[in-house]
Amino acid sequence: MPSVSLTVNGQRHSVEVEGRTLLVELLREQLRLTGTHVGCDTSQCGACVVHVDGESVKSCTMLAVQADGSSVTTIEGLAAADGTLHPMQEAFREYHALQCGFCTPGMVMSAIDLVQKHPQGMTEHEIREGLEGNLCRCTGYHNIVKAIAAAQEVMHGRREALAPAEA
């Protein structure tokens, strides 16, 4: 069986997998990191998005063996050791950007990649377009977009803390 060595949320792992094992299966079933979700089998919903070497990818559409030697970050790896949430997580909470929460891990991971790739900041329209690969069945996206718009100000250092969401 192929063996895969990779770093997940800063921790090194060497794991035996099958050729066909998906990265999401390695994360959820072998490493028990079940924050990364699977919402479809057509690579369309984005619930499974994680970062591989800093790029957002659909972990349901990448083989575990393809992640050999990589550094992976999942939703579990975002908060600080003392539990302080990442600004994007904090913004999702503050702006009520989730209802059932199923899409949320993927949304947060995609949103962080988007913000990092747009240091000049994104308009509301650009945020909506950037979320093309993430589906949400509950929120209608509105508050997700507001949360990302607020988080980018903090992530780019243009604000110290989140502006409180309007009720």
Partner: protein
């Protein structure tokens, strides 16, 4: 998904040797083959990952040509300064297909080897008169695309690079399917060393050239020149997403937009 052996060769010759097995398949970005394998549409004995072969990832300008390595990812192509300067319409296309995560993994070679009738790059390759470079030979765009999911590539033959003659002007417009976001109908127009070329994707079983529009644009490069040209719906795709007549109508609308996009 059925299980398979996985290889990640570091050189093209090693990859070609591994692909001598008729049941082995190359994998580039995996954004098409992995969903297909999940649905058990194929049962390869082995996947040969092309991402470790450095020469397949090069993007460079060679005189009046832009050469894009088959393993170049959509996100890299859309952000590449050489591509943006030489053929901005191609960079914009790479940045507009699929979604961020698909663009971070998917590659030009994988897309052009797959030749999905609703894919974007076939329109650019046909419209620009690209040359397909493989481990065995060079194939012109007019001989490469053989219809739905079919190309001139033979078993075991690998696409290594695509060469695009740099046009004076090129533009692209597409109508996306509102659900799948793949192309319903797109038109790529170009004027350059290969003459005026108009390629239509999404509408038919494979990408095709629109000769009447090419002639009209050669005489007068403007949206008005094609305004009166009606695409025949015969042999176009009709399905739950849109009738052949609707797609035929879109060919005209997208052609006008593509010319405006080219400027």
């Amino acid at each position: 998904m059925y299980d398979f052996a996985f290889h990640k060769p570091a050189s093209l010759s090693e990859a070609v040797a591994l692909l001598a097995d008729p049941d082995a398949r190359p994998i580039s970005g995996g954004q098409t083959i992995l969903p297909a394998l999940k649905h058990r549409l194929d049962r390869p004995s082995a996947l040969v990952d092309l991402s470790g072969i450095a020469e397949l990832r090069e993007i460079r300008r060679e005189g009046d040509k832009l050469v894009i390595g088959a393993m170049s990812r959509h996100a890299e192509i859309s952000a590449d300064a050489t591509v943006r300067a030489a053929i901005p319409a191609l960079a914009r296309m790479a940045g507009s297909l699929g979604d961020t995560q698909v663009r971070n993994r998917g590659t030009m070679g994988g897309s052009l080897a797959n030749n999905d009738p609703a894919a974007d790059y076939p329109a650019a390759a046909m419209g620009l008169g690209a040359t397909f470079v493989t481990n065995r030979r060079r194939i012109g765009a007019d001989d490469y695309f053989l219809g739905m999911f079919t190309t001139a590539l033979e078993p075991g033959e690998l696409l290594t690079a695509i060469e695009f003659p740099i046009p004076e002007k090129a533009g692209y417009a597409k109508m996306r399917n509102p659900a799948s976001r793949y192309v319903m109908t797109g038109v790529f127009v170009a004027r350059g060393p290969a003459g005026v070329r108009v390629a239509v994707n999404g509408a038919g079983p494979g990408v095709f050239r629109q000769a009447e529009m090419e002639a009209a644009l050669a005489a007068n490069w403007s949206p008005e020149a094609v305004a009166g040209i009606r695409q025949s719906p015969d042999e176009l795709n009709g399905d739950i997403h849109g009738s052949a007549e609707y797609r035929a109508h879109l060919v005209n609308v997208m052609a006008k937009r593509a010319i405006l996009d080219a400027g």
